[in-house]
């Protein structure tokens, strides 16, 4: 294109960082070394300094190292032995990850990540033994993306656990895993996963670039990362999927997508992701295709209802009374007879109440949350109708559209569906169907302008790819979907040989 996209993020070329940042070396003397470490870590109280006679000092941070390993494999090995050089220490330790560093910077970094520093008096190096232990919860069912048929395990906050989960699904040497560290202060580990030979190299490179060029202070959750590396961060529509289901993540990888896992976050990022795929659930793959197709169509109807039902009500009642069928005319006008507000205000009020209930339900502790949802809905709804501030029919519409918005499998996308309703209601309240159409065209153009990792966001509808449409708002039987979606521009297109497996039939 000759002209720039107005909302496009500037992609500054990455500056390759200098490999040697700080040339400061470790002091050979024991006391000097201890002081150096203390200064660098600001002398926290959980910094344990232990001397093993005759000339060894062990420094580590409590709670970050495995006590048992420390005792059995390090202290017992070092005690009562005469160690001459760091190399002999390295040889004496019976643990897998041992290194020798001379730079202070590296040493500090590893002690913070849970290594034990072993310093031999008189040597300007330190032996670093990695015996990290991390507190993490056990694996549990994915709560935000629950499904009836399918695996009942979700990611947790530990990067290594998550990667082991993925490796369990994809036991292949083609599964690539690259590590990045993001955040000047948090030094969060981020793993970039993809299938070599399936995923598009260009796309991997551009994602790599985006990650490395990030200059973040802190990275607490993957949602932040996904927003930072989106194609268009200003758009309301997410362009990368956040999922806590390892099966969905792996399915994505196998389709040529690229995954990102952030340490400390239970949501993994999958990209590129098209608009349609946000409305697909992993369960669709597990059900028979008829039922999956029905479920997907249901979801799509739900989205349309959710976005346009209330605006159409507002538009029809405010301007286009002609389009209301005679059978509806009397119940509609009678239910509105007591309402003192114009339809826009009435609808906004009710939508606001529903959103309030949802927000309260999400913030409250689980047990109270459920009661608030049900009781609040019924009580407030009936009371509002009786008090005459809303009409019965609108109450049904609003409840229906709220319900419909929750059918979206991706919570992030569900939020968008709920949000974009509000401007459309306002437009419908001002200019009726013309306003709705205006909003519709705007959203359509906006969606057309978006891309996910450079891939068209509205794929497979635009650009039209008939083969990919087989698994879009419908799901054709699995033998018909043997090709990987063109969205990911995969290096290898064929998933499997689509020939029938039952030879007796042919």
């Amino acid at each position: 294109m000759k002209f720039k996209l107005p909302f496009n993020k500037k992609q500054t070329p990455i500056i390759v960082e200098e490999s040697i940042v700080d040339g400061k070396m470790i002091t050979p003397s024991k006391d000097g070394f201890i002081q150096q470490i203390k200064d660098a870590t600001n002398n926290p109280f959980d910094l344990i300094i232990k001397s093993i006679p005759p000339n060894i000092t062990i420094i580590y941070i409590d709670n970050l190292v495995k006590d048992q390993t420390l005792n059995e494999h390090i202290i017992s090995n070092l005690q009562n032995k005469h160690n001459e050089t760091p190399e002999t220490i390295k040889g004496a330790l019976s643990i897998p990850e041992v290194d020798i560093y001379g730079q202070l910077e590296k040493t500090i970094e590893s002690i913070i990540h849970g290594s034990v520093l072993i310093h031999l008096d008189g040597y300007p190096q330190a032996v670093i033994a990695n015996i990290t232990t991390r507190e993490s919860r056990s694996l549990a069912a994915p709560e935000n993306e629950s499904q009836v048929i399918g695996a009942q395990v979700g990611f947790n906050e530990s990067l290594s656990t998550n990667i082991s989960l993925i490796r369990r699904y994809i036991a292949s040497s083609d599964l690539c895993n690259e590590k990045f560290t993001i955040g000047k202060r948090t030094n969060t580990s981020v793993a970039l996963l993809y299938m070599n030979g399936i995923a598009n190299d260009q796309m991997i490179n551009s994602l790599r670039q985006r990650i490395t060029s990030l200059e973040l202070d802190a990275l607490i959750d993957s949602a932040v990362l996904s927003e930072m590396i989106d194609d268009n961060s200003l758009s309301v529509f997410p362009q990368m999927l956040l999922t806590e289901r390892p099966d969905r993540f792996c399915d994505g990888l196998l389709n040529g997508k690229i995954g990102l896992i952030v340490d400390g976050s239970s949501m993994a990022i999958i990209c590129p992701q098209s608009f349609v795929e946000f409305f697909q659930s992993q369960e669709d793959q597990n059900l028979r295709w008829h039922i999956a197709t029905f479920a997907r169509l249901l979801r799509f109807t739900a989205i349309l209802l959710s976005v346009f039902l209330t605006p159409i009500y507002v538009g029809a009642l405010t301007f286009h009374y002609e389009v209301i069928p005679q059978a509806f005319l009397v119940p509609l006008s009678e239910s509105r007879a007591l309402v003192p507000f114009p339809p826009v205000f009435e609808a906004l009020l009710l939508e606001f109440i529903i959103e309030l209930l949802r927000e309260a339900g999400a913030r409250l502790p689980t047990k109270i949350g459920q009661t608030i949802g049900i009781v609040g809905g019924i009580v407030i709804g009936t009371a509002a109708v009786q008090a005459g501030i809303t009409s019965n029919i609108l109450l049904i519409f609003v409840a229906l559209s709220a319900l419909a918005s929750f059918t979206t499998p991706s919570y992030m996308m569900g939020n968008v569906i709920r949000l974009i309703r509000f401007p459309i209601i306002i437009l419908a309240g001002f200019w009726g169907f013309y306003g709705i159409m205006l909003a519709f065209c705007f959203i359509l153009i906006h969606l057309l302008r978006q891309s996910s990792m450079g891939a068209p966001y509205l794929s497979p509808f635009y650009p039209p790819r008939l083969k990919d449409m087989r698994n879009s708002i419908i799901r054709m039987p699995i033998p018909f979907t043997a090709k990987r979606p063109a969205l990911t521009r995969p290096t290898n297109e064929e998933k499997f040989d689509p020939k029938p497996i039952k030879p007796e039939k042919s």
């Binding site: 107005p6 301007f319 009374y321 209301i324 005679q326 006008s333 007879a337 339809p343 001002f430 009726g432």
Partner: protein, 374 residues
Amino acid sequence: MKKYNFYLMLLFLSSLLSGCVETNILDKIGLTTIVGYDLGTEEKMEITAVIREVNPEFQSNVEIITTENDTSKGNRMKANRQLSKKITVGQMRVILFGEKLAKENLHYYIDLNLENANVSNGLYMAVVEDETAPLLNYEYKNIDDIGQHIFRLLEQNISQEYMISPTLHETAHDFYSIGRDIAMPIIKRNEEHIEMSGIALFKGGTMVSSLPVKDSFYVKLVRDSFNSGFFETNLKEEEMPPGLLKKPSSEIPIVFDAIRSKRELKLIDASTPEFDLNLKLKARVLEIYPDVNLGDPELVKKLEKTISKNLANEISRVIAHAQEVESDIFGFGEKYRSKVRNSELTKEKWHEMYKNMKVNVNIDFIILRNGVFE
């Protein structure tokens, strides 16, 4: 680009504030369901409007307002002055014309409603015997909402094919068509009820005559094809085939339903003009005088023939009546125009020819079955 976005937002917000439109909020408007046009006594037209309003106190009520003015919009303004809510016509379902007005000319009234984008093309039009105002203003014991009632009455009869369909579109179509004239149902008040009493025949925009309601079946038969509905006819004794009756009787009433008819119109002579009207009817005997013997296939054939003859006579009678008043409600003219090249037909020319038109009615009547008990 950022600064453009800012202007864009500013433009949008400013338009939001000033681009407001006049609203028609459903519960703040009065919905006119029926409009009746009469000849005014002092001014040009008298309009009776049935307006449905929703009030918090009464739930919903129906107001009937009669006003007189020179124009229809003037009447609307006058009526507006008497109501708490704005009058709108977007949900209008029926337009009624007083007989006197219909006998003058309806051209102006048809155009008036076609012009207004709010008025639906699917609304029904009918003529009221005498005047519309008394019919609408009368307080019926069993009818709550007269607007709804008349609409339902017409709709039901039309969808059952008992009555010809008089939508605004069809009326305007016939009015602006060269070889076709308007026909509308006539309704009247009968004590506490409203009933259909006949069909009004028009020549151009002027009502010239009427047919009794029983003849609507024949009119419909000639106008277009039938898909349902039923009809009743009386067979005279002299028409009857011998042997059909066990006991002689002067008249046999016979009722048919589930009628399917196929109409075929052929122009055989363009100069007279002369038409062949071939009708193919298939029907089910619904009710027949019990003495009739329907078991014998020979007799059924004879009965079919008798009925055909009877129908042909009735249809000829109806057509002759229409010819007499120069009202081509059947669309013979359209056929003529479509068959004769470069006819340069005009409505006047056709009406001249129509008077002398000859129609040969041929009817092929088939009894499909009777009930489940012989």
